[in-house]
Symmetry: C3
Subunit: 134 residues, 3 copies
């Protein structure tokens, strides 16, 4: 049994910027040499999210719109400045587990791994990829 | 340490069909021989979800209604046809981890494992059960 | 490879009571002796949730308000009494995985582990901390 960790770092320049990190996670799985196991994708922060869905520009527009319908930018919040960022992060989640078999992530065809910057400003971001298996 | 995988396959005939897969996951845990560990239930697809909650028909009606309140069927979306399916899947999540002890899933009494077909049409579905432990 | 489990138990006295369990999870990680791995925080029940976000009183007020905006207390539900509790639990999720390195949870600075009692009444609560690693 092996445990492997890779931290990826990147900059996001604006609110609701979405970064497809699938290739980085695939590369980590390859580099780990793990053929069979579980891959955790974890965001160490309170205003970022990670989702597993289709990287399609029209769908991502819909996602941004629905996030604003559910947790509006215009609403008054108690928490200063970026309450909506935190609340949207809670809703979407910041950790996802993916099965690995034959050295590959068992993602569906239309299922990519995407980081979403929910903060109201540009941020340097870190995502932890943790793999456990044989 | 052992890693065990089982893929279950089934058909869903309509949107918002909910399939209780608890018994299949329990069977996989038994067959794995793993007494202590973690069980990942993973949907390899972008329009299915898996939840851990009570399999009660009235509650599931409420769930369907609230999904339509939050992400309405009637709304205009950019993504063609099944945007709502994707968005609801993102909201509910498509991977859940459950603790195993003494060879059993440590679920609460009113906590079942349910797959939800969020797509707008009948679909063949696959769920991956991945167990890691001793 | 080691597997470690700790169950923490506590009472919640009212709906939407939020309990910061970060220190208990940190203590479990220390006691496990595991330096590198994954920590699963799992709620064995259908009306509790666990989130990873900032323990700030104003933000938690916002969270309570938004939960009531999304899944209102005043709405009519099919499921008797505590439908909203179940639905909110489904939305927030009841299991979270956190990476461990150098014997520490790799949480962000503003990221605490919080249990939320979503039931409509006082409840005794149990949270399972399951750690797997080296």
């Amino acid at each position: 049994m092996t445990i492997f960790e890779r931290v990826i770092e990147f900059s996001t320049t604006k609110e609701l910027e979405i970064v497809d990190i699938t290739d980085y996670v695939k590369e980590a799985v390859e580099d780990s040499g793990i053929k069979d196991g579980i891959c955790l994708v974890f965001v160490p922060g309170a205003t970022g999210a990670v989702i597993l869905n289709e990287n399609d520009s029209s769908l991502l527009e819909d996602l941004k719109n629905i996030l604003n319908d559910l947790i509006p930018q215009e609403k008054e919040y108690e928490h200063p400045i970026n309450a909506r960022s935190h609340l949207r992060a809670i809703l979407l989640g910041n950790n996802q587990c993916i099965s690995i078999k034959n050295g590959k992530l068992e993602l569906g065809t239309w299922q990519q791994i995407m980081f979403i910057n929910l903060d109201t400003r540009a941020r340097k971001r870190k995502v932890i990829i943790k793999i456990i298996g044989d």
